[in-house]
Structures are given as structure tokens and as C-alpha cells.
Symmetry: C2
Subunit: 350 residues, 2 copies
DNA sequence: TTGAAAGCGCTACCAA
DNA sequence: TTGGTAGCGCTTTCAA
């Protein structure tokens, strides 16, 4: 059954997946030669006719090398694993993600996203480790514990890179510095003379890794303002779900809160809240200033036009090179780099 | 170097990745026994003390099985590959994607997204084939040619499933029926008495797989209306970039176009265009009705509130089961199923 | 210039 | 109940 029956030596439509041995047989050479030819091994010279025969045989059989077998033999792979959890994120992030994958592929890595939603950190790490990736790059969607990192390294990962704020030992931790976003937004509001500043904290699960640092950043801005001429700024966290009901409820008790400004986490929450405020008779920006983040096109369509924080994402290329470097020299000291910069785009809502 | 030096027989922090042989050695059993225990092989009975020793040894070493070795030995993997190209898509899609991954994992598949942006169809197929996935599920981000499918099948993929409109031979093609979206939107506009209907076609690359069928659907609706009492509806494609300039330009020549309604591809394009129309002095819905799609929350915040097409995405679960079935029985006839249904949500802009 | 063969980590068959 | 071992597909050293 598993031996060829000699009835039909070549069954192009047969169900067996062609191996390099099949190619060798068809080309009338050894498996070694096939390997040399197909990998352009420079250490060895193969005659041109042989090369052609091998290539034609491979082509004819539709031969595709078996990545698992190859990396098993090699003792390592060039797979970079990106845990993904599909949190709702903007086009910015999406673009960055794309770039990163593209650049990593240029550097000859196989990039694979591993959907890890709903997995506990060590379950996830174990699942990743089974694939023996040479590097894991977590953009922060998934929590990475110290044990998880340890496990990955023990399974041969030469670099574990985090972009979240979490500073995990053994990780190359690149600060994406979400906090900076809250900081510039709040500083801007304070400069404009606002003092009681609400900060929207989405209640949606999975957004905590973004919202927490943004809130912290806002607090930092308020504190540092306290030492200057513009003293006494306070920050009030405002839990909010992404639906009209929640926004209306919040707007309904707005006057009790006594806020004169709000940083709304991002443009979408900002748009939602701004509408609710306006419907509740609170004028923007006179009574309350509103600032979002992400600089979405849609924010410009509102009246008043939404002020926002524009985020300059790092080039995927930079990160890709950093990954490559970390892989090549696993013991390089974790160089922390700032991966995004933020600036306020003041429009009409603040 | 590669042999153990007998100096430190057990280096827990050593750089070598522990194998099942290491576990066996530490537990004082054979590799076979390790395999039996760790896989709960039911065909074989192992004494409880042995089991415990093995498990403890594995735990102590931080042993994680090597997926490549396993699937090489098994002759097949349970990897489902989802080509991803990160086109900007809504929360709906995102949710669906998440569900699908979750459900597939419940069925014991390893789900992996392979970022294939910028790859030509056969390059992509080759790259996927190297991983020897048992199934490939393309949600339509990447074009799948007949040769690509052929190659995948020859490399052992037991199911290739497409959700796009492309009907590729050898594929289990599930109609996501984007056309239906354009159809219901246009039918709604015609019923409301509109006759000259613009259909926005985004100029952004990569959206063609969505926009083309939507336009076709709109045309179908117009044609079928032509036979009834409400005859003479026409459809006019409107290329549009997702930026204010392009929208203003289009709005500027709106009156020349003589349109009394527009289906704007989705809610984001609809919001962009509606704002431009209003700024150009064209009243919505009186002079021109506007309908989007996706039923985004933000559309409800506009004035007038945006009419839209609500899309009921199929459960990821259904698709996951279909994948599983296709894998179990690769020769099952390609059952085409409707994977989404659409209905108009009429608000104020139409 | 080409071939034979070892061995990567794992599982499953067969023997003890 | 446990161990020995073949072999999955591939690359690479060593010989011829």
C-alpha cells in the first residue's frame, strides 16, 4: 500500500505528497543532489544538465519542500510568531502590522500569526513553543508572564519581544508608550485652561493594556502641571461601554461630575461621547472640551471637528531589524526604544 | 560540543532544548513510555507511579513537544492556515475571524494566520504548502488561482475553502455573497422611489473583492426592478478614495450626475460622502438618499442618522464545523452555503 | 560531480 | 507494563 505498486510508477494525480526522493527518482539522481540543486548549495558544484533535470522533475511533480522536516533537520526554524488576539484596533495598527510582516519576510523569516484569544498566558506560551519559533513578537494583545517567556526561551526562541508596557524579564521590551498619548492629550487640555479632566476608560475587555497606560499618562500630566503655574488639575476616570446607552448615561450625570474637559481614549469613544454630550445640552467645547486619539478621518467630519492625538507609529521596518538583530545575537542587552510618538491635533472640540 | 560533556549532566539552564529523550532519561524510562504517558495513549496501560515520574520529569525540564517532529512522524498535521492580508475591515469581520479561530481550536486544530500581503497567488500558495496545512481557509483577502489550489492539494491539504465570490475548481466555495449587500441596499432605494442610483466603488486597492460584487448586486437589483412597476432604475459606479478631497470633488459635480440616491459601499464611505454632500449644499435625504453598510455605531451619531445595511455574519462555529467535515471527508461534494444575510436598517438618510 | 547514510524528535509497532 | 527500534522528509558530512 505504502510501497509503489509498480503498476503506475508515476501517478501525477496520486494522493501521495511528492518528496525529494520522488524528485530524485524521476530525475535519476540521488536525494542529496536534489537538495543541492534546489537549495543552490554553493559548496558543491553540480553540472548544468543535472540541475535542469532536477528542476524539471521538481516542477513536474509539483514538489514543495516540507518545512517541518527541514527545520527538524536544521535544528532551528526561521519562524517568527506573532500572537494575535484581534482586538479592535485602528488602521494605524493594522498598517504597522502589515509592514512588520512584510519586512520580516524580506529578512527571510516565516511570519505566522497565532490566534491566542481566550488562552491563559502559559497555555498560550506552550502552544507557541510547540512550533519552536525563533522569535516571538507580542504587540501587547496577550499578557506575557515571566514563566511564559522562560518557557519560550527554553524551547529555543532566541528573542521574545514585547511592545506593551509590561516589562517582563528576559524580554526585549520596546516601549510602545501608550502612556504618552494620555499625557500629551491631558497636557494640551491643561494648557488650554481646563482643570477637571475626565479620562474615558473603555469597559470592553482586552483594551486594558491600552487604556490603563493612557490613564496613567493623563495622571502624570496632571501631576506635573500641579507644580507649575497652572496648578490643581485633576483627573477623573470615566468607565464607558462602546454603546449609546452607556454614553447617554454618562452624559446624563455630566454636570454632577463637574468636568470641563475629557480625553476620550480614542476617536471612536470621543465621537460617541461628544454626541451624547451635545444631546444632553452640554456645549462642546465651551462647557466641556473633548479630545480623542488616532486621528481618524471620521473625526474631521463632525461638528465641531474633533481634536485628537495623532500617533506616529514606528516603521515596521525598524522593528523587523530589531527582531533580526535579536535573533542573530540573542544575548544582546534589551535595548528599549520608543516606538511611537504622539502629538495633539487641535481642531474645534477643544 | 553537541555531545553532553558529562561535566554537568543536568543543566537546567542549559541552552539545549529538552527532548522526550531527556524526559525519559530523567524519569528512568524509555522514550516510548514518555510518549505513551504524555499523550495518554489508551491502547497501552502504564502504571500510575511511572506516569507520575514521567510527568514530573517533563515538568521539571520544561519539556514541550516538538510540533514539527510530531507531524512529520504522523504524516499529517492539524494545522489550519488562514491567509491574512489585513485589509481594513470592520468589527463584524474581526469578530467572525475570532470566532472561527476559537471554534477551530475547540475542534483541536492549530490555527495559524499567514500574512500573505504582496505575494502573488502561486508564491503564496507555495509558501503555505511548505507548512503542510490540513486545510486552508481563505476569507477572500488573497486571490486563489486554480493552480494554487492544485498545489495545495498536492501537498496534502484536504480542504481548501474560499469565502470570496471566486468560484475556484477544487475548492469548497462558500458564498459570502457580498453581492446581496448591494442588492438589498439598492432595492430599498428603488422602493423608496429613487431611480438614479450611484454606487460608491472604493479606489483603495484590496477592496475590489468586496466592492465589485456589491456593485454587481446593485445592478441586479436595478435590472429586476426594471421589469416591475418601478421601471427604469439605473446604477452609476462612483469611484471614491477614502479622503476628504476625493469626497469633495465628487460632491462638487453631484448635480451634473443627476443622482437621487447613493449606496456608499459601507458606513465609513457613506459618512465621508454624506458630509461632503451636505457641505456642498445637497440635502440628505431630500435631494439624495444615502445608504451605507455594516451598521456601525458611529453612523447613528450623524444627523441625519445614517441608513445602513446590517450584515448578519455566519457563526464562526458553522464554518469551523464545515472545515472539520471537509477535512474528515475530503471528497465530500463542495456544499455551497450562504454565509451572511443582509437587511436594510432604515434610519434618516434614506 | 555524485551517492550513501546518519540523524533531527517523535510515535507506533512488535517483542519481551 | 515497558523497551527497542524503524522511519517520517530533509540536509550534510564523508567517500567514492
Amino acid at each position: 500500500m505504502s510501497h509503489s505498486t509498480d503498476q503506475t510508477p508515476e501517478r501525477p494525480t496520486g494522493h501521495a505528497v511528492p518528496t525529494s526522493a520522488d524528485v530524485a527518482r524521476l530525475a535519476g539522481v540521488s536525494r542529496a543532489t536534489v537538495s543541492y540543486v534546489l537549495n543552490n548549495t554553493s559548496a558543491v558544484r553540480i553540472s548544468e544538465p543535472t540541475r535542469r533535470r532536477v528542476r524539471e522533475a521538481a516542477e513536474e511533480l509539483g514538489y514543495v519542500p516540507h518545512a517541518a522536516a527541514r527545520s527538524l533537520r536544521a535544528g532551528h526554524s526561521r519562524m517568527v510568531l506573532l500572537p494575535s488576539a484581534h482586538i479592535p484596533v485602528g488602521p494605524l495598527y493594522s498598517q504597522f502590522f502589515n509592514d512588520l510582516q512584510w519586512e520580516l519576510r524580506r529578512l527571510d523569516y516565516t511570519v505566522v500569526q497565532y490566534g491566542s484569544v481566550g488562552l491563559k498566558p502559559d497555555e498560550a506560551a506552550r502552544a507557541w513553543a510547540e512550533l519552536r519559533p525563533v522569535a516571538v513578537v507580542s504587540l501587547g494583545e496577550v499578557e506575557l508572564t515571566e514563566q511564559a517567556v522562560e518557557l519560550l526561551k527554553r524551547s529555543g526562541a532566541r528573542a521574545v519581544i514585547t511592545l506593551g508596557t509590561q516589562q517582563v524579564p528576559g524580554t526585549h521590551s520596546l516601549a510602545m508608550d501608550q502612556g504618552r498619548i494620555g499625557e500629551v492629550a491631558t497636557a494640551h487640555l491643561i494648557e488650554s485652561g481646563r482643570r477637571r479632566i475626565g479620562v474615558v476608560v473603555p469597559e470592553e475587555p482586552g483594551l486594558g493594556m491600552f487604556s490603563r497606560p493612557r490613564l496613567e499618562g493623563a495622571r502624570r500630566a496632571a501631576e506635573s502641571a500641579g507644580t507649575g503655574a497652572a496648578a490643581g488639575a485633576t483627573v477623573v476616570p470615566l468607565p464607558l461601554r462602546y454603546d449609546e446607552e452607556s454614553a447617554d448615561e454618562l452624559a446624563g450625570r455630566w454636570r454632577e461630575l463637574g468636568l470641563d474637559a475629557v480625553f476620550a481614549y480614542n476617536d471612536e469613544y470621543a465621537m460617541l461621547l461628544m454626541r451624547a454630550l451635545q444631546d444632553a445640552g452640554i456645549s462642546v467645547p465651551e462647557e466641556t472640551a473633548v479630545v480623542g486619539a488616532d486621528d481618524l478621518l471620521l473625526g474631521r467630519l463632525l461638528r465641531p471637528r474633533l481634536s485628537t492625538v495623532h500617533i506616529d507609529m514606528v516603521l515596521g521596518r525598524e522593528l523587523a531589524e530589531l527582531v533580526d538583530q535579536a535573533v542573530r545575537d540573542a544575548d544582546t542587552p534589551p535595548r528599549s526604544r520608543r516606538l511611537l510618538d504622539s502629538r495633539v491635533v487641535r481642531r474645534e472640540s477643544s
